[in-house]
Symmetry: C2
Subunit: 471 residues, 2 copies
Amino acid sequence: MFAYDMSKAGSESLYHYLYKCIQKDILFKKIEAHSRLPSKRSLAQNLGVSVVTVENAYAQLLAEGFIYSLPKKGFYVADIQAPTDPKMKRSKAGHKAIQKQDDEPERIKSQYICDFASNAADLESFPFTTWAKITREVLCERQRELLQVSPSEGILELRKAIAHMLEEFRGIRVEASQIVIGAGTDYLYGLLLQLLGLDKCYAVEDPGYNKISKLYSKYNVDFCFIPVESEDFVSAIEKSQAQVVHLSPSHHFPTGKVMPVAERYRLLSWAAASNDRYIIEDDYDSEFRMVGRPIPSLQNIDVLEKVIYLNTFSKTMTSTIRLSYMVLPKVLAQKFHDEFSFYSCTVSNLDQYAMARFMEGGFYETHINRMRNLYRAKRDTLLIEIRKSKLSKIATVYEEDAGLHFILGVNTALSDEEFCRRAKAKGVHIRALSEYYFEAEPSAHKFIINYSSVEKSQMAQAVQALANVIR
Amino acid sequence: MFAYDMSKAGSESLYHYLYKCIQKDILFKKIEAHSRLPSKRSLAQNLGVSVVTVENAYAQLLAEGFIYSLPKKGFYVADIQAPTDPKMKRSKAGHKAIQKQDDEPERIKSQYICDFASNAADLESFPFTTWAKITREVLCERQRELLQVSPSEGILELRKAIAHMLEEFRGIRVEASQIVIGAGTDYLYGLLLQLLGLDKCYAVEDPGYNKISKLYSKYNVDFCFIPVESEDFVSAIEKSQAQVVHLSPSHHFPTGKVMPVAERYRLLSWAAASNDRYIIEDDYDSEFRMVGRPIPSLQNIDVLEKVIYLNTFSKTMTSTIRLSYMVLPKVLAQKFHDEFSFYSCTVSNLDQYAMARFMEGGFYETHINRMRNLYRAKRDTLLIEIRKSKLSKIATVYEEDAGLHFILGVNTALSDEEFCRRAKAKGVHIRALSEYYFEAEPSAHKFIINYSSVEKSQMAQAVQALANVIR
């Protein structure tokens, strides 16, 4: 015992080698609990090392609790009960491999001619040069601010720019203090659940974006589905237990429908009837209405501060910059400030200052206008291709004016599953509307055409492939 | 009715002016519900505008649901029940102003000589030039990857760099697939609550970092406090209802204590006794142990995969880059992958790639070493100043070897509140240990000395000021 061969320390520091030797003997019970360790001086002499080396090894063992000291008596071995075989290094064998292999490329490049199922933005059109230039400018000019902690709600400069943009583009007048910035809409949904209450019942659209109901179930909150295609959406909400309604009135996903203004007012009346009722308005792609002016938001006509407006830069910029925001009614903004500002803002300062500058410089407006034209041209090309092809004899286009997708109704005997399967075999990735229903009766033979990420040059071929599915 | 003065349109487009006029008449009930609108042609003629103008105005009203159309009959006014006075612009008056004024500067510059209550990193030492250079390089060279959606767990390159660093610095061997990246520790805490279950009971250290219990209460989860200064921390956990323990064994905040290895093994044995038991190990400033080697993490000796290791770059880099990570035991990593990958990663690609490159290039290691030396020098200066001053006669320093704070015990009759108030009056911001207790009996006359953000040049004056508090 304690007769360690110090020449085996190799490149390691002597004290650390000694520490490891004693530690091992303690763990493997070669030294009994509560037995006294040799004095520093005698051990140093025995091993042929300096007293400082032993001192350092003992200090480390002491710090970690392998040994304890009794005043004027010396050092003693602690009583350590390891749960099983106390190997310091654990065996890796016998573990179920995690499905996702690390060696795989992060994204498998799409083998499709055309992917109508992706709602990604057009990557080629991202204003990379301007964005990179602005980011470099911020790095260069805002060094001090980049290291100063952002308020929980986000950096004021960005909140002001968003407030200004909302007024300009959407006619929404809010104060910067009502805005909360977060790293993505998911994150803000979660924050809202905490702010509005995990004990509330949330109404979710059916059919709908399934991420929302997934998130609600992960948070264990009570939620119910409201059929959006029923005659009377608002009556269905009235009949439900819901206190909070989560919806996209400007452009419902996936049906593409716009909520009529009469329903909007009825919904606001429903919310007004009780203090704890709120409406979460997810305005995710309202910037891209293809005909006429943007549909005014619910928030615009909300005199009673019942609407929480939520939007993201994922659709207009790129989802790889994590930036979303919500506009809280004043009473909730105050509650957020009082009770939730212990949370750190989830967006890094660099992204916040860069986005603020991008907006202040007018680049955002220019970019949106350019993208709207680009997407409109994509949509028009696609509609023309459909009209020209024999697909037009068996298919009808619905809801083509709002947002970045429309619905293609196909007169076919094929099941939706079979249609999608055959389309896939022909290189076209497409999803049926029926995949997005929860409890409501699915509307069959309708397909979602997301065209934002599809190249114009692929469209003729894709339409041809879809037409061939039905033969 | 419908006799609008189109010359008043001004710079607005004619169709939009017309749309607004009709909309107003509908909302103010000047046109009755279900009454028929004039035909496009006749209205165009009456107003002296083109048919296209009327067509566009009707189309917008139709899209928003102000009017409806009956085939072959024409357009009719919808029945809209606005909840109250249906003004399109809402009144801003009468609202309680939100406390935080927007015109205020974002951070009030500290008026203190010295802030021992701030746990911010030393801002002057942030390697801004290198970080900015690497960010510029990533912007320049990784354009394609910057626009490709990150996996929910984070970008593989960064997860690999973190796995490598954990092995090098902490002796922790994990696979990149066990790592989940998130925008800050708060965010990861929330994710963990969902992953482990909102129906579990969580044990929280008392005294402790109050953000954790705040977060737990916002998530409505059951939690209990475990007194860390009691004789037997693990027995207290055993007696509690807790299934999950949240702690910082390498450096407890605020007491600064290191959990002895015997307790660690007992804690692991406790966790091993049931499938749903887990330990959340928050290793927040383990990089900055000032004496000897870093204390091995609990994760190091966890043979049974019961420990979730969590750390952040906020302490080592800056909290304004939002980057934290957790290492999940394999079974939880699989569960995350199966059930939670619908969540988008909350960190932007730019920050992820920049951090990966910063680590791969060895800059992170260099930076940590430099910072450890810097902080050690700060600590040493401060300890010397205390020893030199008359404060040493009435004060004792505890737990000065781990992390970026230590405890100053003061022999005084003053209450903690009074001591802090007097210190503040003399320009020194300081917090009492007793402020961090929840249910346990607070240890009085102990104060937390966070020295990371304090300049060496301020220390003598700050110590002098504290000594003067007691006269």
